[in-house]
């Protein structure tokens, strides 16, 4: 089995390196096909590992080589495929393979086609390191690797100009009604990278605390001995690790980068900012569940934060017209759901929702990519409409994915989201449950607001002269497996998954009577379907959702401006920081530089002034030497007499 583990891990790297050889060349289809097939190889290996672990219940653990070995510190390059990581591996490789194939079509006309595939495969490799590592150090390497690849891919179109910051809500890059996702791709990339760096410091501190107190970073050893530490220390470790998770999974206050990351190519958003990288934070909490179980207060905080983010992001998605940002907010919201589950101790539920979410959310993004491709990169959903006629397969797939996201029985989203609500109710955290319940209704509404605006109603795109057409058939074919999983994934895999995963993760400890559970399911389905129905009928009747009066209210503007978060970041953080940097720059020039230059100038001037001594005349040089000698002889004579 070890060889399958290595194949699953290193096949994406091979693809990336081969594609990198062609990075500076014009588009060659070969790189797209080669990286996709390498990913497919990795996917098959992951599936073999999965079936091995399900059937034999033996985890695969290898130590490739020693990495750091100094004194007592020993960190090997070790990889483990246990129930948790193999689930992640299957999800990641499956989604990545489909996204790679989709990208061949989506990036068809891009001149940096080869470079794109190199980055994308490098991302998958980093992600595999992150999820397969058997220690915190390896996890951190992967963690930084995905951050780097995310930076490269968000800023993939780095040559685009910065958009001016204007007050007009329909033009400001800070608003979700404008045609811009952020100030510029370069800005968004840096924002994502720097935000993550700040959060990663927290995670690093957590890892250091673990090492200082336990002397090891191996998961199994850490989790075995973590209970022997004092309560305060465990809380500190849990909090610092969670700060890292907050950055990667874009939880408040590190949430702003995720929405801005929509500047990247759409398949990148599908892979990195929906299905895989942003779920790394959830994965960390699941992986370190032994730590978080000991400190339920931290877990409860995680759950509360998750619920708040779930609700806040859903509110922002209500008014946004930027197709990618709606889906991004929805991702944020679903990540909130996952954190609620993880925070309340239902770790396998979080992992299950993570997997199901990866399927339906990536396919939603890929569908959005098709739509944008068809309408010359239009991202305002109000400028689309009636596309169902022109691109039926995309329309059907996106509608299915939206149903799944809304949690309609018996699609995948229903199975995973419903247990989270049950967990929230069963843990007697009724406020969290109520928030998530309302969010479920909002989710259904905004998902179908998007579907209605894009695929139904009047054909607004005609005003702009777009000629929408369905994309290549292989692109659709790459979406079909994900769409199928979005339909039947939950239904087919839930029992097997629960049986497998509870061997590794704690079982669910909620006590709901059968009838209560049924009532919960019924009312959740009710609010979800009423959200969908409202979106449908309102659009049929009026063609729009918010009247002009409503659009002038403060609340609407608040939501359209993303709770003024970008403004706050810009004014409270960035501007003072810029002023401080300019001050430091002046100090640097006037003080530090002057001192350094002064030393150099003194030495130089001394040389310049004493240059006359080198007159190239041997007699004069000798004379100087004799005078010097005589001087020192006299000096030593005086010194001798004085003594």
């Amino acid at each position: 089995m070890e060889k399958y583990l290595y194949i699953a891990l290193f096949a994406p790297l091979v693809g990336s390196l081969v594609a990198a050889l062609f990075a500076m060349r014009p588009r060659t289809l070969f790189t797209g096909i080669f990286t996709s097939s390498m990913l497919a190889v990795s996917m098959i290996a992951s599936f073999i590992l999965l079936s091995h672990i399900i059937s034999t219940e033996q985890i695969v653990h290898v130590t490739m080589m020693d990495w750091i070995s100094i004194g007592n510190l020993s960190i090997p390059f070790g990889f483990v495929a246990d129930q948790v990581s193999v689930t992640m591996m299957v999800v990641v490789t499956l989604v990545s393979t489909m996204v790679h194939i989709h990208s061949i079509g989506y990036m068809d006309h891009d001149k940096s086609f080869n470079r794109y595939f190199s980055y994308l495969s490098a991302f998958v490799f980093s992600m595999m390191i992150l999820i397969m590592s058997d220690n915190f150090a390896g996890l951190f390497i992967g963690w930084e690797g995905v951050g780097l690849c995310s930076w490269l891919l968000i800023g993939f179109w780095y040559h685009k100009e910065d958009m001016p910051k204007v007050k007009d809500i329909t033009k400001s890059p800070f608003s979700t009604l404008s045609p811009y996702s952020s100030i510029s791709p370069g800005y968004a990339a840096n924002e994502a990278f720097i935000t993550n760096r700040v959060a990663d410091l927290g995670m690093l501190v957590g890892i250091f605390l673990i090492y200082w107190n336990l002397g090891t970073l191996q998961y199994d050893e850490v989790f075995e001995h973590i209970g022997s530490l004092s309560q305060g220390l465990i809380v500190a470790i849990a909090v610092f690790l969670f700060i890292g998770a907050m950055g990667k999974s874009a939880q408040f206050p590190f949430n702003q980068w995720l929405a801005n990351a929509m500047e990247g190519p759409t398949p990148v958003s599908a892979l990195i900012h929906a299905a895989t990288m942003v779920t790394a934070g959830v994965y960390l909490v699941i992986r370190a569940n032994e730590i978080f179980t000991i400190v339920p207060a931290v877990g409860y905080f995680i759950a509360c934060l998750g619920a708040a983010v779930a609700f806040g992001a859903a509110l922002m998605a209500l008014v946004a017209t930027n197709i990618k940002k709606i889906i991004a907010f929805s991702t944020l919201s679903q990540l909130g759901y996952m954190f609620v589950a993880a925070g309340l101790g239902a770790y396998w539920v979080a992992l299950f929702h993570l997997a199901m979410h990866a399927f339906f959310k990536s396919v939603l993004f890929l569908g959005a990519g098709n739509v944008m491709h068809a309408t010359e990169n239009e991202i305002n959903i109000k400028n689309m409409g009636g596309l169902h006629k022109h691109m039926k397969p995309t329309s059907i797939i996106m509608t299915i994915a939206s149903f799944s996201l809304a949690g309609i029985m018996p699609l995948s989203g229903y199975f995973s989201k419903d247990i989270i609500l049950e967990v929230a109710f069963g843990s007697h955290t009724y406020i969290l449950w109520a928030i998530l319940y309302v969010t479920a209704g909002l989710t259904a509404f905004y998902s179908f607001r998007l579907v209605m605006y894009v695929f139904h109603g009047e054909e607004n795109f005609k005003k702009f002269g777009y000629h929408p057409h369905e994309t290549h058939s292989y692109v659709i074919a790459s979406m079909v497996p994900l769409a199928v999983l979005a339909i039947v994934g939950g239904f087919l895999t839930k029992n097997t998954f629960v049986e497998m995963i509870t061997k590794k993760l704690p079982e669910l400890e909620i006590h709901l009577s059968h009838s209560t559970a049924n009532i919960l399911i019924a009312i959740t389905l009710l609010i979800a379907s009423s959200g969908i129905a409202f979106a449908y009928y309102r659009h049929k009747k009026c063609g729009t959702y918010f009247s002009a009066n409503l659009e002038n209210t403060f609340v609407y503007k608040l939501l359209a401006n993303q709770f003024y978060m970008p403004h706050i970041i810009d004014n409270v953080l960035l501007k003072p920081y810029l002023a401080l940097s300019k001050l430091a720059w002046k100090i640097d020039i006037h003080v530090v530089d002057n001192i350094v230059d002064g030393i150099a100038k003194t030495v130089y001037n001394t040389g310049e002034k004493s240059k006359f001594a080198q007159n190239a005349n041997l007699s004069k040089s000798l004379l100087t030497m004799v005078i010097g000698l005589a001087f020192f002889v006299v000096l030593s004579a005086i010194y001798g007499f004085a003594k």
Partner: protein, 99 residues
């Protein structure tokens, strides 16, 4: 005669050589002056060796004589080359490394 007289003689000859090195412009004369200085040192070495009853100084004087001979051989070779190139051996005519 005591050691002092020999050393005074040595100092006087060394000073003559030193002045020659500084004052002369002719490179050949410069070599002569250098030889005078070397031999002044030799006198000193031999005298001290004799008065201390230690042969090391005299041995050293022989080495200096040998080194001086080879130095003159190389120096004269270079001098001839210089003369061929510049057609004179005046010290002031070879100032090519002025700072």
């Amino acid at each position: 005669m005591s050691l002092n007289e020999y050393l005074i003689l040595s100092t006087i000859i060394f000073s003559i050589g030193l002045i020659g090195v500084i004052r002369r412009k002719n490179l050949l004369m410069l070599f002569f002056a250098t030889e005078i200085m070397l031999n002044a040192v030799n006198i000193g070495l031999v005298a001290i060796s004799k008065f201390h009853g230690d042969l090391t100084g005299q041995m050293f004087a022989f080495f200096i004589v040998a080194v001086a001979a080879s130095e003159v051989a190389i120096g004269l070779g270079l001098l001839i080359l210089l003369f061929k190139r510049k057609n004179n051996i005046n010290l002031d005519s070879i100032q090519s490394m002025k700072g």
